[in-house]
Symmetry: C2
């Protein structure tokens, strides 16, 4: 059984916005055993949308449509669905009441006919109430298939997907099992790994797929098993996985944790009742931002000093001026002092510090672009590591943040 | 003349990664007058890719393909292109030399046959050298059309697109002109604007399209004109635009600036030789991160204190404890003190401060979730504003960062 996703909107096709909805929908479907066959982005154009609907339905049972549900003339999804299903728009009283209530509570301008028209839905559609906006979601059954239309606003779509669509899908369809296992490796490239595991890859059972996912110097190997019998899948994954451990056990660093590294660090700190603070130079506050993107971070994150200028490192972080002049601001010595001092100043259990040159021009030091020092201070002392992170500004910062969180995680695990 | 984009990879269809490449390609094509008709994401599956290539070619002259060029078995783009064009793979000596040089310089593992195979390309393809990786781009002409295959790694793709593909496209095709104009409004919703400009929208010339782009409480109106005669387009856009100014001039805040708000703020500060510092509570370092994402930010960004915990506001930012106990940590008074103090501590011309409750649980104050204060301090004194930003954590932070930069921009313009 397959699903397809059609995203509607000229703004996607001129590159004005990045389509993040499809990845969310696909990943949620995947969790309940539904595979996405194709994702298609089409224009705000009736003929184009009709083509896409027809083609998607020919390949898949479940067709998702996002976008084109706004109140204005360029939003034509509902009229197009009517044409596709030979249907007409009728007013839904419940939706109308919801729109009127939203206007009363949140919107200062008076409600208009254009707004009220958002309560018009195809007569064959079941309405899925949208808690966060005026455009309702719609569920239209078509034989053994279903069309699901949702607004393109990501947080409205996410709420509808999680609370309305997924429960209905789980109830309606018997689904195959899908099991993923992701094995993390470090130190070898994609092709070197491929050579070492060629015998396993050539003999994979037909219900298991293997994918290589390289990112920031690591390669993750994702095994996906799909089928009707859960036990067969589990045993298959187990067998392949242990063959992999035999062949490349030396470079396997673990299996995928639940969630992102900032969430993992948060869980570890919370469990140990420990706190952290950061002193960030070239990462510019991105470690703090990533840590505080996790709800509940106030329990373990004390604060951060973003000391972009050398002067700030001296004045506020109390890094001795002669340390900077002796070793340069991009040095192991300065990184260590930053980590120790922020730990002390913020009264935190861990101090995390970054200093480096992310380019594109050389800053306050003579260090080559991409040279980076990261330090983690704790009551055990301070760990410093040096890295060369290439010459691409955005990637240097991303890699630096990730590496700092990895080093922190390692230190926390000693407690 | 249309282009289409096909992105290849199971990781997109299971939602493991968000496809950002398509938006980049589409927006670059748009700038040179080429419209993207459809974007299609397909599986690592030969039959599926062949279908997509055929369909895309039936609708468009230029077909982009990203992904599936890695060295491993799940990367099948090149073999599939050979089948599509009834072609065979041949070794390209220049690519081979490049791969060998990359391994020698950057990669510690020895080069293998799998790596050398990346130098195999379809005999009909012109090679586009990839400066940042081992997989070459390819340009395959097909009558009056062309297929362009690029690796899926975003920074490799961007370099190829910018330096190899766009120049070749500009040389090969005569393109229509495309002109965009984006008018920014504030204070009215999408539907209220639609009512007020209905007469203009109903009478738009056929070569002009109007789109509504709502975001963070603002609606941008994008006019797009496309055609062969530049002057006709310019006059058309000018005429429609002045009609819009007549009808909704009261809510128009300007026309789209060049670049992001953090880049605009950076330009303004640089031109005035002024500096800034931030004291961030609920924004958690995201203002600093956004400011420092602009190359050259060290000229005007002194630093930031991320004071997530109330204690940090008192100990490091010297916000008087009795101010917090009297007014609460989420208050205009505390925001003002934070902005003034960070300006003084960091010796900056502008101090930017945020305090608020982003949820999901109430923090150190009794303020309702979504209540936010933002303050900008300068030698003119301190400006504070209060906002209610809804109940969605990520959106509260995003809106807060954006609003702080907007307020800062307004203050800078007074200097």
């Amino acid at each position: 059984m397959f699903a397809e996703i059609i995203t509607i909107g000229d703004e996607i096709l001129i590159g004005q916005i990045i389509d993040t909805n499809s990845a969310f929908i696909a990943s949620e479907l995947n969790k309940i055993g539904i595979s996405v066959y194709q994702i298609t982005s089409v224009q705000d154009d009736k003929a184009h949308i009709l083509d896409a609907l027809k083609e998607a339905r020919s390949r898949a049972q479940i067709v998702f449509i996002t976008g084109g549900l706004g109140p204005t003339k360029d939003d034509i999804t509902k009229r197009t669905l009517c044409e596709f299903f030979d249907d007409t728009l009728i007013q839904n009283e419940e939706v109308l009441a919801h729109i009127e209530a939203l206007f009363k509570k949140y919107i200062s301008t008076p409600i208009s006919d254009v707004n009220r028209n958002q309560a018009l839905v195809p007569s064959k559609a079941q309405v899925l109430n949208n808690n966060f906006g005026t455009a309702p979601g719609m569920w239209i059954e078509d034989g053994d298939g279903v069309f699901i239309s949702m607004p393109g606003v990501p947080y409205e779509m996410k709420d509808l997907m999680t609370n309305k669509v997924l429960p209905k899908l789980v109830k309606k369809y018997k689904r195959p099992f899908i099991i993923h296992k992701t094995i993390m490796t470090y130190g070898l490239g994609e092709s070197a790994i491929a050579e070492r595991i060629a015998t396993v890859e050539d003999a994979l059972p037909s219900f298991i797929k293997l994918a290589y996912l390289p990112n920031l110097g690591k390669v993750r190997l994702r095994l996906t098993a799909k089928g009707k019998e859960k036990e067969v899948l589990e045993n298959g994954i187990k067998a392949v996985s242990s063959e992999l451990y035999e062949l490349i056990g030396d470079i396997i660093t673990g299996e995928e944790e639940e969630g992102t590294i900032e969430a993992v660090v948060g869980k570890l700190l919370t469990a140990r009742k420990l706190t952290m603070a950061t002193a960030e130079s070239f990462t510019g506050g991105k470690i703090a931002e990533q840590i505080t993107s996790v709800p509940g971070a106030s329990a373990y994150f004390v604060g951060s000093l973003v000391c972009y200028a050398s002067r700030t490192k001296v004045d506020l972080l109390k890094v001795p001026e002669n340390l900077i002049s002796k070793y340069s601001v991009v040095s192991a010595e300065v990184a260590a002092a930053m980590a120790n001092n922020i730990r002390e100043i913020m009264k935190a259990d861990f101090g995390v510090a970054t200093t480096g040159n992310a380019g594109p021009t050389k800053g306050d030091s003579d260090a080559p672009i991409g040279t980076v020092y990261i330090a983690i201070a704790s009551e055990n002392g301070v760990e410093v590591q040096k890295f060369s992170m290439g010459n691409h500004r955005t990637r240097i910062v991303q890699k630096g943040v990730h590496k700092a969180l990895e080093m922190l995680q390692k230190e926390i695990l000693k407690f």
